[in-house]
Amino acid sequence: MLGYILKRLLLTLPTLLLVSVGVFLFIRLIPGDPALVLLGEGADAASLAGVRADLGLDRPLPVQFLTWLGHAVRGDLGRSIFSGEPVSTLILQHFGLTALLVLTAVTLATLIAITAGLVAAWRQDSAIDLAVVGTATVVLAVPSFWLGLVLLLLFGVKLGWLPFVGYVPFSESGVQAALFLVMPIVTLTITESGVLTRMMRASSIDVLQLDYVTHARAKGLPESTVLIRHVFPNAFAPTLTLVGLTLGHLLGGVAVIETVFTLPGLGRLMVDSVLARDYPVVQGCLLFTAVVYVVVNLLVDLCYPIFDPRVTAR
């Protein structure tokens, strides 16, 4: 077990290194003087010289990379061109909301997927199965932002049940904040449950055909016990991997949902920075989301042995 954890940890190091090289090179891809790119057009000569010295821009590229990496590891990702705030502060300010949104939605979507997928597989080709597969297929085809817009139109504009423009932080009013989050969470849950349900159904169908399930039934176990105790743990592993991938990507990628519902999350921060050409923030967000992705998938892999002890046996 310890060997498995260590091996998995070691495997993430080259990925993280390459990710940081990529993010570092991102700024160099932009035509023009990197110092000017990082400080914006209006920068004065003194601060330009300061950044050049600080980042070692007159030194060879590998040295520049190590200098930048050294700063990044200590949490110094530079400052926003526009607000002048440290990029790390901005990221942490915006990440909380995104994490709350994504964690809630992915948890709900996973619960829906497990239930719907197991039941559909259990009664394969029945009316319930057709309904589940049909809904999942349609859901997969609906762009999340369109679904968000439709919900917003219906429950926000037409019926006026839920607030939809702007956001009130939890620190100010918990109830208000929760109300603002209902529609984004519902939208995300619906769109993410489609692919997870299909995955859960497919692997459950495979597992249901195995001999040990027949054996469990032959022992006279009730169907609910067979499904929950015997089918679920084995069928869940592929879905868990997919949950990890989804979670990792959504934590950075809910830009579209945050734009629809005007929520100040991490995705929105990144989009605004791209539109405003605030490159230090774009760079910081890229690095942060990639690291989050790697860490989330590491955690998922470490959870794997709980469901399938065979993975540590190698």
Partner: protein, 265 residues
């Protein structure tokens, strides 16, 4: 059954594009402020937008642009990804290790954010979207192709090709490549759906194809301020995207079942 629905939906899409090449009810960019935001009627089947432009004509032109962008991105990702995947899976060794490390690193970035960042560098245009999406999708292609090649390279006919004195390049092109077509076709259909969705998402975020050229994504994005007074502006492009995606997904499912010998019983 599902495959038939999928093919019909794709058929409607292709028909729309072909008809749009020959004839459109109005000039998609003709501004007619006297008839702005008029609801669907006999004169304008899908209504008009805030500039009085015909939504049906814009959706038809939008279909062409959106599909071309998605096809371009998928074509680029599939060709580059297949070449790299075959190399990694067939040659193994350091080529494989290096390529896997790079794909791992690229996959660590959320697709949309990576494309968004690349758009910031490349600037907003149709070709930048194709390029940005292709970069985001290539690693998945490399992954799938490599996995398939790994199982194929152990088969007898590969050994026979080697024994006959073929060099590595010839073996890869003549014997490995034809055998990985089925999974690539399935992957290409699902990537096409993703590309279409990402194009509309990027347009929605404001870094897509610049106006006045219509894509389904930027039509949807432009409809936001008029949602409560002119709901058809968001419903029409939304249905276009959803219908096409549904068609592509159903077709992909049918292809997978048809090409998978395990399920063809």
């Amino acid at each position: 059954m599902n495959g038939k629905i999928g093919i019909s939906l794709i058929g409607v899409l292709l028909l729309t594009i072909v008809v749009g090449l020959l004839w459109m009810p109005y000039d998609p960019n003709a501004i007619d402020l006297a008839h702005s935001l008029s609801s669907p009627a006999a004169k304008h089947w899908f209504g008009t937008d805030e500039f009085g432009r015909d939504v049906l004509s814009r959706s038809m032109l939008g279909a062409r642009i959106s599909v071309l962008i998605a096809l371009g991105a998928v074509g680029l990702a599939i060709s580059v990804g297949t070449a790299l995947g075959v190399l990694a899976g067939y040659l193994r060794g350091w080529t494989d290790r290096l390529l896997m490390m790079v794909t791992d690193a690229v996959l660590a970035f959320p697709g949309i954010l990576l494309a968004l960042a690349l758009m910031a560098v490349l600037g907003s245009s149709g070709s930048s979207i194709i390029f940005a999406l292709a970069i985001a999708y290539t690693p998945s292609v490399v992954r799938v192709v490599r996995g398939t090649v790994l199982s194929i390279r152990e088969r007898e006919f590969i050994e026979a090709s080697r024994a006959a004195g073929d060099n590595a390049f010839r073996t890869m092109v003549r014997h490995v490549l034809p055998n990985i077509v089925p999974p690539i076709v399935v992957l290409a259909t699902s990537l096409f759906g993703w590309a279409l969705l990402s194009e509309s998402a990027l347009s929605f975020l404001g870094v897509g194809v610049p106006p006045p050229a219509p894509t389904w994504g930027n039509m949807l994005s432009a409809s936001r301020p008029y949602m409560d007074v002119a709901s058809w502006l968001s419903i029409v492009p939304g249905l276009c995207i959803a219908g096409t995606l549904l068609g592509v997904n159903l077709l992909g499912d049918a292809l997978r079942d048809w090409l998978d010998p395990r399920r063809r019983s």
